[in-house]
Amino acid sequence: MTHTHSVKSAPRHAALGLTDEQAVAMYEKMILARKFDERGQLLQRAGKVNFHISGINQEPSQVAMAFAMDLKNDWFLPYYRDYAFVLSLGMTVKELMLSLFAKGEDPNSAGRQMPGHFGAKRLRIVTGSSPVTTQVPHAAGFALAAKMRGERSVSLVSFGEGSSNQGDFHEGCNFAGVMKLPVIFVCQNNGYAISVPLSKQTAGRISDRALGYGFPGVQVDGNDVLETYRVFKEAHDRALAGEGPTLVEIVTYRVTPHSTSDNDLVYRTKEEVEIHKAKDGIPAYRRYLTEAGLWSEEQEQELQARIREEIDEATEYGERAPFQAVEDAFRHVYAETANGEAI
């Protein structure tokens, strides 16, 4: 796929159909996600929570993909690093904190699942599990349901590049391809699957795989927010136009260890990480907004303060909230009747 940035006079975001408010909102979501994520790391180090898994450095593209979607009609099947994505879909920091602290009020799983296992029907975020890539055929199933019911709905599913080597990737993509279903497959290629670098995962290029399923595959620099938005917008348009799926490979890099349980310096160097940290898409996007006259130092400080407060409150709330009562720990294996019996 080739493309040109055609409109000369309008700023890039406007040319892509984004309002100034949206362009700014995107920035705010990135920062919110980054700060939440940093807090998660702190809380784990402080021994307040057992585990945190980070999406740092992947936020710019996650926000971009969310903003290209139709929040009222689409279906979302994120993976565990998608904090910025789900925050952009309407999940709150408080909800993420409830999940991080595994508390009963957590809408994702009532503190049953690990953090990063998103799910909230009200936000059309589909419940996810730990075994990677199982959500890929589910996304095809949501799209099939939409097609059958004649709904204008697209499903977006994301996963890592390691996970794209599972059979379910192949089967799900092929199914969606042959039925021309409205699905956007998103591979967030961050270079590692725990300790295993891309070079040991595959000798091919992930985006090239789409060809074998009969639909387009696009590689995009995840640090380039607006270009990522453009690619998703196009994929979304194709899906709605009945042209079928698109595979988007977001090229990014995992700057944190795999999770708080991982020591990444066993398998890569600090230097390598630093090189990629320097390419962070957030400052670049901030510069873009500043140059476009949409952002200022004052706004930045206001935002940082607001977010800190939001996260502080959420942290406190999450920490204090009760766990799910143990009497309820075994409920919902099957549907219950009105009086609480299994049917």
């Binding site: 279906w75 809408p107 994702n108 799983s109 009532a110 049953r112 699942q113 296992h117 799910g119 909230a120 029907k121 589909v126 419940t127 599990s129 075994p131 199982t134 890929v136 055929p137 589910h138 996304a139 095809a140 199933g141 949501f142 799209a143 099939l144 349901a145 939409a146 097609k147 059958m148 499903s155 059979g167 379910d168 192949h170 089967e171 799900g172 092929n174 199914f175 042959v178 799910q324 409920r331 919902h332 294996v333 099957y334 549907a335 219950e336 299994a342 049917i343």
Partner: protein, 328 residues
């Protein structure tokens, strides 16, 4: 009431439910124009179109996975596995996903899915067209599993399975398809999931089982009644998960002598759980050790006819075991 074939009962259940509820659709390999390799979905594509009787690519994990997605989206998919032997590629989708969706989301999401799969041998299908995979899925909380033996139950249980708000594995016996015919009401009726059924009353021995071997038990029981004066009480589990504990205990208590039968191999089968339940609850009511008559612990039956026959249960094997127990 019309007498119809077991396979016809399954087809009718799907057809009627697809007429009643447009969320219901069937997907699988060759389910479309061909109507399935056994003919179970014959006519559905003609009546309901390509989308609702959907030929999928040859990929069972996708068949299950796509169906799970559609079920979460509010549809009522029936995923056909061409043979139960070929559902193992879908194990992860069934066990990690379908079974856990409600629980892991604390009831926010659910997965009202039916997976239909033909089990059992006796069709010269050899190792990979004859297996009974029940024990692989049995014991996975979150799944329901049914395995009808009669046309009546096949239709009634399939309607219940389709309407059930949770995932149901529907193990239909391919040998029953055309061998078993019985009275099946026209139109709607359901057989409740989780309830066993007394197929025959008797006071000497109790036979507990499911699916095809029960027909051998019934034949053997008639002969034993006629020739030996032995009256067998026969319980069809019908649902193997959740097991009907009360039904099992009542049937076992009735005679105090229990023979459990299934075509799945013995070790680790459903029969072990039935025996364990009885030995947990009824130990002092037993007049004989709990016996199990099942397939041998061998990967599956050979295709050659003597080997297949040697492997499979039949009326004579049942009769011998039942008589032996009666005489205990």
């Amino acid at each position: 009431m019309p007498v119809i074939e077991y396979i016809e009962a399954i087809r009718t259940a799907m057809k009627e439910e697809m007429e009643r509820d447009e969320r219901v659709f069937v997907l699988g390999e060759d389910v479309g124009l061909k109507g399935g390799v056994f003919g179970t979905t014959k006519g559905l594509q003609q009546q309901f179109g390509e989308l609702r009787s959907l030929d999928t690519p040859l990929a069972e994990s996708a068949i299950a996975g796509v169906a799970i997605g559609a079920a979460m989206a509010g549809m009522r998919p029936i995923a056909e596995m061409q043979y139960s032997d070929f559902m193992f590629p879908a194990t992860n989708q069934i066990i990690s996903e379908a079974a856990k969706i409600r629980y892991r989301s604390n009831n926010d999401w659910s997965c009202p899915l039916v997976v239909r799969a033909p089990i059992g041998g006796g069709v010269f299908g050899g190792l990979y067209h004859s297996q009974c995979p029940e024990s692989v899925f049995f014991g996975t909380p979150g799944l329901k599993i049914v395995a009808p033996a009669t046309a009546y139950d096949a239709k009634g249980l399939l309607l219940s399975a389709i309407r059930d708000p949770d995932p149901v594995l529907f193990f239909e016996n391919k040998k029953c398809y055309r061998l078993v015919s019985d009275e099946v009401p026209e139109g709607e009726y359901t057989v409740p999931i989780g309830k066993s059924k007394v197929m025959r009353e008797g006071d000497d021995i109790t036979v507990i089982g499911y699916s095809m071997p029960l027909h051998f038990a019934m034949q053997a029981a008639e002969e034993l009644s006629r020739d030996e004066g032995v009256e067998a009480h026969i319980l069809d589990l019908r649902t193997i998960q959740p097991l009907d504990r009360e039904g099992v205990l009542e049937a076992a208590a009735r005679t105090g002598k229990v023979l459990i039968v299934h075509e799945d191999n013995k070790t680790g089968g459903v029969g072990a759980e039935v025996a364990a339940i009885i030995s947990e609850e009824l130990l002092y009511d037993l007049d004989a050790p709990i016996r199990r008559l099942c397939a041998p612990d061998v990967p599956a039956m050979p295709i050659n006819p003597p080997g297949e026959k040697h492997y499979l249960l039949n009326k004579d094997k049942l009769k011998a075991a039942m008589l032996d127990l009666a005489r205990f």
